[in-house]
């Protein structure tokens, strides 16, 4: 086990940031913590990177206890906090060599680890980090976190606020790092990124809703979700919400995701109902369930 978390709780004053969270991350795995802001992702990261002490529970990282062996952990992990923590007034090259020095290494020594990522930002190596675009800052921050060849990599919302292209590139890089045997714990508010992890924990308001592989979570989900579309989306949402047996109605891209309470849902009946309400160009089909659907269902059930 690369990371073991057992019943970790942390509260600020009277508010629980995380409550009795447990999970394991296997060696060489990409493990995703998926949840919105305020779910407790950052608190959990800080506990595991030895920056915060939990109120209850125990955790180990790379075999070391987060409280007793915090010094050993600090030597063997790479950490990229929420806001890309770079020195804005230092150049790309200066940032890298600074982080290399404080970890007691040099750029040359571990060049092979960061090479693939570094070549993309190398043309800008004399530019100040503050003048880089979001995607490039993200790459530089990743290089800085990797410079000492960590065994475990902690990435706290590395793709937040970054455009889809950079996000995709970033995940490709993570896959390649994984092949080098680095264990990666990554958090994200983007549910569509869940599918890119080996295993995920869905978290909301400090509690874990589910832990499994993305495929298992989807295949074990017992409800059927339908894609519904008509010409007038706004009206469609209103009308679906008034349909007697509706369980949930959520806008999803160009379709509305509709879920029914009953097991014997008949799409013809729904179509007739929508026709009655003057909808045109009606389209109803079984949808491909996504992690986001399940997350929304679980959070509603949890409340």
């Amino acid at each position: 086990m690369s990371i073991q978390v057992q019943n970790i709780s942390k509260s600020y004053k009277d508010n629980f940031a995380i409550a009795a969270v447990s999970f394991d991350v296997k060696e060489g795995e990409i493990f995703g913590l998926i949840g919105p802001d305020g779910a407790g992702k950052t608190t959990l990261f800080r506990i595991l990177t030895t920056l915060l002490l939990a109120n209850e529970g125990t955790a180990t990282v790379a075999g070391f206890d987060v409280v007793a062996d915090y010094k050993s952990i600090r030597r063997s992990i790479g950490y990229m906090p929420g806001k890309f923590s770079l020195y804005q007034d230092l150049t790309v090259a200066e940032n890298l060599s600074f982080f290399a020095t404080i970890f007691g290494t040099t750029l040359e020594e571990n060049y092979d680890v960061i090479k693939e990522i570094y070549v993309q930002i190398e043309p800008f190596k004399d530019r100040r980090a503050g003048a880089l675009s979001g995607g490039m800052k993200q790459k530089l921050a990743l290089c800085c976190a990797l410079i000492h060849k960590p065994k475990v990599l902690f990435l706290d919302e590395p793709t937040t606020g970054v455009d889809p292209v950079s996000r995709k590139e970033f995940w490709d890089m993570l896959k390649r790092l994984q092949q080098r045997g680095i264990t990666i714990l990554v958090s994200t508010p983007y549910m569509d990124e869940a599918a890119l992890c080996d295993r995920i924990a869905l978290i909301q308001k400090g509690a874990v809703l589910k832990i499994d592989t993305p495929e298992n979570i989807i295949s074990k989900y017992d409800k059927t979700i339908y894609d519904v579309r008509t010409k007038n989306t706004h009206q469609l949402i209103q009308d679906l919400k008034e349909y007697p047996s509706q369980y949930s109605v959520y806008a999803f891209g160009e379709y509305i995701h509709y879920c029914d309470k009953t097991d014997d849902f008949n799409s013809i009946e729904l179509e007739n109902y929508l026709k009655q309400r003057n909808h045109t160009e009606i389209e109803i089909r079984v949808s491909k369930t996504s992690i986001e659907d399940i997350f929304m269902d679980l959070t509603t059930l949890n409340q």
């Binding site: 919105p36 455009d163 959520y250 806008a251």
Partner: protein, 244 residues
């Protein structure tokens, strides 16, 4: 949706020294439309948006918003628009009521109007019991919805939303979009930027900026057809890749 143009942009450019952030873009937004304004980081989205809301002067080109020229009548433009950004929403150390009163005040709403609006807004959002709570104590999702309502306080013709749903949980995000739909239904024009590609699908029309240019502008459906892909995310990836 009507064919009445509410935003007209002609050959708009913005240069910072030798760097051209926005390079000769032209587009129109129609009344009551939900217009998605997408682009990669650093593509010039924010710069373009700042020019539309009259807080940054174009280097060249023409912009008319709600019938006013942003160069000569920036103050009138500001009166006709609402603005909500992810970063600045509201004062955390004021209560909901105080925030509404303050923002109503800066848009010159009368005391009675503010009272009436407060009551309406609070009941719509189901916040009756929370009016005297500090905004800082509200969950993020509520704050977001509240600041959207506050941006609409002075009944603007156009609302500019700059990544309004960043980090919000998926259910609240949907509720937020339902509010947007409802508002557009009343005839308010919505101009929105987002990083969630599924949200791009909710828009009537979408423009995608790449390196200062508008590379694509159409309904999500047409764009997907044009690029022969399944989702807006793929449209986006294809476009950005073509440029590289």
């Amino acid at each position: 949706m009507s064919q009445e143009k509410i935003i007209e942009v002609k050959n708009l450019s913005k240069k910072f020294g030798s760097f051209t952030a926005v390079d000769n873009i032209s587009f129109d937004v129609y009344k009551g439309e939900i217009f998605g304004f997408l682009g990669a980081n650093g593509a010039g989205k924010t710069t373009a948006m700042k020019m539309l809301i009259g807080i940054s002067r174009p280097t060249s080109g023409e912009v008319t918003v709600a019938g006013y020229d942003v160069k000569t009548a920036a103050e009138m433009v500001k009166k006709s628009i609402g603005y909500m950004s992810q970063r600045f929403s509201m004062y955390d150390d004021l209560t909901i009521k105080e925030n509404i009163t303050f923002f109503g005040g800066i848009y010159g709403l009368s005391r009675n109007k503010i009272k009436e609006k407060t009551a309406q807004l609070v009941s719509e959002l189901g916040l009756e019991d929370a009016v005297d709570k500090l905004v800082g104590d509200l969950p993020l999702g509520w704050k977001q919805k509240l600041s959207f309502s506050v941006a609409l306080l002075h009944e603007p013709k156009i609302v500019f939303l700059d990544e309004p749903t960043g980090g919000v949980d998926p259910i609240t995000r949907r509720q937020f979009w339902e509010m947007i739909y409802a508002e557009a239904h009343k005839g308010t024009t919505i101009f929105v930027t987002t990083h969630y590609m599924d949200e791009a699908e909710y828009c009537d029309r979408v423009s995608i900026m790449v390196e200062g240019h508008i590379e694509a502008l159409d309904t999500p459906k047409n764009l997907k057809q044009q690029f022969n892909v399944e989702s807006m995310n793929d449209v986006f990836l294809k476009l950005a890749r073509n440029v590289e």
